[in-house]
Symmetry: C2
Subunit: 425 residues, 2 copies
């Protein structure tokens, strides 16, 4: 990134020294983990560029949108409907982060036994290093897990524009009614923020934009079913991560371009790894940028990751929204129908998720599943036990890991992953 952004970062209130340090670490991690990969599709050059400009050019674009009257809305969860933001001339950006920052300050506000994802969100705020967060005109929290639900009470004192969305805990009629009520309330809040009334035309168009983005990811995912896998799990994850930051139309076009290339690679039996490399499906907690710890370990241990059952992955993107509604209310209902299918572990019961993981393992021809649990993430750690059982019933090996953003357990994890991959071979 060029020096040109420094005044923008200063205007956003970033701590330039801390931010420089973060970008330094991010840059060298990206180089060591991503650029060191062999047999990458050329199209990944686009994502390399996006990542190199993730705090630069993309933020500049957001600032330009703001200058032109648009609004930026930040979110920590796939339950916040991007369609509603887009339909009101706002841009939705993901705020989850995947690195520890300002941990000492964070632990003044949150218990030590809080998951790394939540701590990281606080660290990026307290450390003043997240230009997405600082540029957001509205930050949306949501009542998913206990950790996030209670953490937003503190976050509300750190930011002055927090909006909290309630969510159901059960997939009952009542739960669905709550989701609809909350989406209608969110729509009104977004309209009030932007001064733009959402129309059936604008919502239909927004649904189309987001469906297109998800459909592009579906195409990419589908190509990962080939053996040899035409793209690494690291690169597949990256595409799913950039999903939350990039301009939607450009993202869609860029993913399709990569897919064209991957189709050619498949025809040529050209893979990121050799044919018959053990294939792993990763299921569980979201992996936000720059949390590339698990795929790096897996893909330097003789296996390839072929899919992510995660918010940053198929759980977040698998369903499209019915765009055939002819009234605003029909389209709001279609959104509720679409998001109500998300099988987050906060729901009880959540049998659909077990079935979906089994379906994914079959569809992606996975030899084994690694359940990725963030330490202290009760919903996913609890559910990892029935997930393992559901897989064992089908004879699919499963390794449950529990980790955080630290590097202290790298050696131990690598040993466990290597032993697991060995068993699949």
């Amino acid at each position: 990134m060029t020096e040109d952004y420094r005044s923008m970062w200063t205007d956003l209130g970033l701590d330039l020294d801390a931010h420089d340090a973060l970008l330094g670490v991010l840059g060298s991690a990206y180089k060591d983990i991503y650029l060191a990969q062999k047999n990458r599709p050329e199209g990944m050059g686009y994502f390399d560029f996006v990542m190199s400009e993730v705090h630069g050019l993309r933020i500049k674009e957001l600032m330009d949108e703001k200058a032109a009257g648009g609004k930026i809305i930040g979110s920590y969860c796939v339950f916040v409907p991007e369609e509603i933001a887009l339909a009101a001339n706002a841009t939705l950006v993901g705020l989850c982060s995947g690195a520890d920052f300002a941990m000492e300050e964070v632990e003044q506000l949150l218990p030590r036994n809080t998951c790394a994802l939540i701590k990281s969100a606080f660290g990026f705020k307290l450390g003043k290093v997240c230009p997405y967060l600082e540029s957001a005109d509205m930050i949306v929290g949501e009542n998913t897990c206990d950790g996030k639900k209670k953490a937003y009470e503190s976050l509300g004192h750190l930011v002055n524009n927090l909006y909290v969305m309630d969510l159901p805990q059960m997939k009952t009629d009542n739960g669905k009614a709550l989701l609809k009520k909350e989406y209608l309330r969110f729509k009104e809040a977004v309209e009030a923020l932007t001064g733009v009334s959402i129309t059936k035309e604008s919502l239909k168009s927004a649904i189309g934009v987001v469906n297109a983005k998800r459909a592009a990811i579906h195409r990419l995912s589908s190509l990962r079913k080939a053996d040899p896998a035409p793209i690494s799990g690291l690169d597949g994850l990256l595409a799913n991560q950039v999903f939350f930051y990039d301009n939607p139309a450009r993202f869609t076009a860029s993913v399709h371009k990569i897919c064209d290339e991957l189709e050619a690679r498949i025809q040529d039996r050209k893979g990121a790894f050799p044919e018959k490399t053990p294939r792993i499906l990763v299921a569980g907690c979201p992996q936000a940028v720059p949390n590339w710890k698990l795929p790096m370990i897996v893909e330097t241990s003789g296996a390839v990751i072929v899919g992510e059952e995660s918010c940053v992955g198929e759980r977040g993107t698998r369903h499209l929204t019915d765009d055939t509604g002819s009234t605003l209310d029909e389209m709001m209902d279609a959104l509720v129908d679409r998001y109500f299918q998300v099988d987050c572990a906060i729901f009880t019961p959540n049998e659909q998720r077990l079935l979906h993981i089994r379906e994914m393992a079959a569809a992606y021809k996975a030899d084994g599943v690694i359940h990725y649990g963030l330490q202290f993430c009760q919903p996913y750690l609890m559910e990892s036990i029935p997930v393992e059982k559901a897989l064992e019933e089908k004879g699919i090996p499963c390794l449950r890991i529990e980790t955080d953003y630290g590097m202290e357990d790298m050696g131990q994890l690598k040993t466990r992953v290597e032993a697991f991959v060995e068993q699949l071979g």
Copy 2:
């Protein structure tokens, strides 16, 4: 307890050897902790008897009720309305337990990082040592914290009569509507279980019985405001614990009898501890039988506990239900109004709890507050930080502790509590 109960325990499917071991530990702990206390009110003899017969005579009574056509309903939470059970000729018993049991088996079903309360519930089931659980015709789980919510999914496979109650996460109109819906659904389930239709007469009577039980506890609590405190915190906690097991009418009468004695002690300036003993309010997670760890530490460290802000304490009992309704629907609304005030940390926001703790500290003339957090209990551990802040704003010292049911940290806790008490002196 006499040998007479052994056939009853066998019929209930208890593991007699394991159960003997549990009762042995319970008995000697009770002797060391409770009977070793000095200056106890004579009326506590009643609770000593109840505790000595907690798995004996009381279970016999429940079995007699069942033989006479009544039903037993077990619950893990103060959100399950006892009034509805009583109104349908059922008896509600608390199932939460306060001791580790069968931990190796438990950790096959639950992550290690699960709070002791939940693990204990599973341990008592897996170890076959809880006659309340085994005698229950219906076991009610509820969507409070993530840990319990997800654990009930597994518990459902261990018991064949689990009923799960959904609960709101916010005190909104929508949240209240959900609670009402769920209480109506629970009423129907209880009626189906018992074959008894709840009438306005039976519900009014049940509200009266439970109000009387709570009013007796209010009287007892109020007497603890005196200096010297006429009763120890250990004994005060025990009364709040027995609240969940005993026959309601007998409990009410016994508490009033103790209160009569305490009033006389107050007049004579006779206390469980000397006048001007530093006074502690305990706030936070529930302490279920036989979890007497914290009060034992506090009251052997030169302080007296004068109140419990807990589900097993004032959070659970403080509100009475309006009994003036003249229709069933009015009375159901009164129940919803009553329970919707419970300021459990699962709610967001939950400012009322901070205010209530401050009010309690003032009312009970507490010199300091100890926030009791069970390890891995995210809602209360998260909320302990704003609690501490709210108390500090009023100049009230607060010690936040995080512990489990193990004895390994006793020394460390005692050191911290002693230092805290010293500072209050």
